[in-house]
Symmetry: C2
Subunit: 540 residues, 2 copies
């Protein structure tokens, strides 16, 4: 039924509940059990939305519905529930309650137990009062056995009116205490509620302040409120913040301590109803299901987002790592291959090839196949620097390092048709590699000479591009020497800058790499002969 589906979606919508109930009443007014059914509906609504700070309308409607039916005792019970719940119109309810007490005789509105209890107290108070007032002699007591049942007939020396008044006072007093406690709870939430500018859903984003308020309000309830209140508040929040993944995730995270189904339900609503195209919530759901070892469900969640938003590398990698953790090697390889084939951009193809090669090398220990993958990738994406660096790293990863093979790769890169500055970087790596691993000094010297040529070319290139570039060749050699041959602890940056314009007229960077002695920047990219990736890395 349409209402039920709607309420499943937004169980907090008081209006929707009221529509539903009114609709029901009008529709089924004929059937005899309509009243019970209606009451059930009201109870469902209260259970779902009754602790909502803004549920007053619902309560009022329920109360008046019972009042109309003269179920005064029921009304009192409702007030007893309501007066403990922090809601916006808490004091208005208390006033109505007082009116309700005035309008009816206590007998009508109280359960028999409470009525008798209170009446006894009233009588006792009265007797104490009498004893203080008139001390008659023994025997003036009414004769035993003549007492009428309390509240009927003989009224212990009070008129019914007097007694009712006294009873009403007592009834109110008790509720007054509740009210005070509740008022305090209300006051603690008032600021938060005040700050909620847009409780309804809207595609336009909420301002930062709103999101902040929701977050703090939720944290407050999580700390002080009942689980029920927290859930209700989350439900309210999810109406206004339905487009914000982080609130859905906060909700799911909260529920993890209470109910697995609850969490799954939250994720389902978020991913299937509100955010079918948001990857992080899907990732979170998948991670949750995987933690529950629901691997099939995990797969499905990832496949969904992968369908809804194709080309998300993060999702692809998670799908792959899921199969890896399951030990499904063939699936891992198949996925890698599929992503390589499917992706349209060459750089992405290459990215997956690098990942695949890395997996083959480091996890399967299959360097041969890793080499093939990278070589294939290079045929598709001939100038991709990352592929070349990966190829170098592949050789460098093997233990012990095969120097000749590694050098072949270095040479292959440098002879290749790649950017000049990249060649210079790789050539610098090669020199370091030779200094650390090379077995033939001749090879080192050659590499140095080749490097110098490259640096020279790079600078002529640069000067073409920036003819206004500063030229430091006018410095006297020994001055230059000071900066050039400064020891390793020298300020690297200064050397980097001077590196970028090596003065090929001076010996100390003619035959040798631009100030290798400014060792830190020069030697320091140690761990990665292979990879220059670090420098594409976001530098925070």
């Amino acid at each position: 039924m349409i209402f039920e589906r709607g309420l499943k979606g937004i169980p907090l919508s008081v209006d929707l509940w009221l529509h539903y109930i009114n609709f029901y009443i009008t529709e089924f007014s004929s059937s005899e059990d309509v009243e019970d059914k209606t009451r059930k509906l009201y109870e469902q609504a209260i259970a779902a939305a009754g602790t909502d700070f803004r549920s007053d309308k619902l309560w009022d409607s329920y109360i008046s519905w019972e009042t109309v039916r003269n179920n005064y005792k029921a009304v009192t019970k409702l007030y007893d529930r309501l007066l403990c719940i922090p809601t916006q119109l808490y004091s208005h309810h208390f006033d109505n309650f007082k009116k309700h007490v005035e309008d009816h005789h206590p007998k009508e509105i109280l359960s028999l137990d409470e009525f008798l209890k209170l009446r006894q107290e009233v009588v006792k108070d009265a007797q104490d009062g009498d004893e203080l007032a008139t001390e008659g002699p023994p025997g003036t007591d009414s004769p035993p056995g003549v007492d009428a049942p309390p509240g009927l007939g003989y009224d212990g020396g009070m008129s019914d009116d007097v007694e009712s008044r006294k009873l009403r006072v007592k009834i109110i007093d008790i509720r007054e205490a509740m009210f005070k406690r509740n008022e305090n709870e209300v006051s603690r939430r008032w600021a938060f509620e005040e700050a909620v500018r847009r409780p309804y859903f809207h595609v336009k984003p909420l301002e930062r302040a709103q999101l902040k308020n929701w977050r703090e309000y939720l944290d407050f309830e999580i700390e002080h409120g009942s689980h029920e209140r927290v859930v209700v508040l989350f439900e309210r929040c999810m109406i206004a913040c339905a487009l914000y993944e982080d609130f859905w995730m906060k909700y799911a995270k909260y529920l993890e301590q209470h109910s697995i189904e609850g969490v799954q339900n939250v994720y389902r609503r978020a991913c299937e109803i509100h955010l079918p195209k948001k990857p992080y919530i899907h990732m979170a759901w998948a991670a949750f299901e995987e933690r529950q070892q629901n691997y099939q469900a995990t797969r499905q969640v990832l496949i969904n987002i992968d369908k809804n938003v194709p080309g998300l590398v993060m999702v692809a990698m998670r799908r792959i790592s899921l199969e890896r953790r399951q030990g499904n090697d063939t699936d891992v390889e198949k996925l890698f291959q599929d992503y390589i084939n499917q992706s349209t951009s060459p750089s992405v193809k290459s990215f997956y090839s690098i990942k695949f090669a890395r997996y083959l090398l480091k996890i399967k220990g299959n360097s041969q196949k890793a080499r093939c993958i990278l070589t294939e990738a290079l045929e598709r994406d001939k100038r991709n620097e990352k592929l070349f660096l990966q190829l170098i790293d592949l050789e460098y990863q093997t233990q012990p390092v095969d120097v000749d093979r590694t050098l072949e790769v270095f040479d292959r890169v440098i002879q290749n048709d790649v950017q000049l500055d990249f060649k210079v970087k790789v050539s610098q790596r090669r020199m370091e590699f030779l200094e650390d691993f090379g077995t033939d000094i001749k090879r080192i010297t050659e590499a140095y000479d080749e490097h110098q040529k490259l640096v020279k070319d790079l600078n002529t290139d640069r000067k073409k591009k920036h003819p206004d570039q500063l030229d430091d060749s006018s410095q006297p050699p020994d001055k230059k020497q000071k900066t050039e041959t400064i020891n390793g602890s020298g300020d690297s940056t200064s050397h980097l800058s001077s590196t970028s314009t090596p003065d090929t007229n001076h010996a100390y960077n003619y035959y040798y790499p631009p100030n290798p002695s400014s060792s830190y920047p020069y030697h320091s990219n140690y761990a990665n002969y292979g990879s220059q990736y670090g420098s594409y890395y976001p530098s925070y």
Copy 2:
């Protein structure tokens, strides 16, 4: 003797040679063999400096010395040598030569052979002339056996004057041809010589143009000149450019095809006389000696520069790699340890520790000891990021990767007292590592959460520092989503920048790393979980 030592240093100084010779003449005028001795000195001088473009003074002095001694034949021989050598005053020499021919009878200035040869030619020419002139009848010939020996007595019908004149013409003609050839050679060098503004030594640096001219002049002679001329030009160049390592190295490089001793001599002069504190020339010398397998000499050269300019990492690493190539493992380890102990700056100590660890791991396969070295280094240099990265890389290098141990290192770094932005980088690496190697999804989610906290801290940090920083949280979520969940081929830089100010209010970077989906920059530092060095690397 002082002169000889001086001339060993600057064998090209014509003035020095002349002083030496004059000094000798005056000193030893008494001894009877002074003339031979002096001539020997002149010959030495000519051999050393005679082909110098500016050696005219020397030649003139030699020639006049012989002239004074009436050794006209010797003078002619000197001219015959001089007229083939491109020198500045080449035409002045030719004029002097003509005068020399005029002043003396051909018999005096020519060797007997040349004299006879030329005279025959003259006579022959004359006879041909006669035959054409007077055709006498047969029998008018002079009776046989009456002929006088030529040049004496009967002169074939010519007066001696006429004959000498004709001889002189022939003598000059022959030299004229030489002169022309030489003039051409001079003209090819004139521009270079013109451009030499400062032939003498000076500590002040030469302008770029001067160095360029020298370089081109040398290349010209190497291509067209004789080996002798090239050497002499180098020697001249090394006077003006004595402070420029690259010219010394160019010289040594040239000599390698001719003489090992020559090369060693050049390096010795450069390193021991002129450039005792220049590292590159020493490195080049060491490399040369190592190629000759003179390992002891190699060691000595490196030790010298290491003494003269302490703290050059480049030199230290060469000393170490020399021993490594020799397989002297104990020396390698000792050198590493010494450099670690000697170096004053902590960062340099750490640098050597990293190198040492790398050597132990990749060459000796001793990861255990490598680990110790790095741990020791961290005790000295507690916040050195490179050491931490090296420690990570060490674990990552092992095959297969020990995931738990690697993660321990990651955690150790992140919990350590290092820069926040560094923590964020390492934490990002850890997430990638977990995605690729992790066996437990829980661990990944935790890492993500921890990463988000770090990023959040980093941003609050930033905002403290730059409160004027742009805040993109006002963008509608879906707009942001477009940039955030763009697929891997997205322009990385845009993501880097947005990464650096992740808006922690939005789901898509709240629970997850700043746009992991901007995969390239994020996943791309693949090869180096361990090392961030790449980013300290000179970015050309």
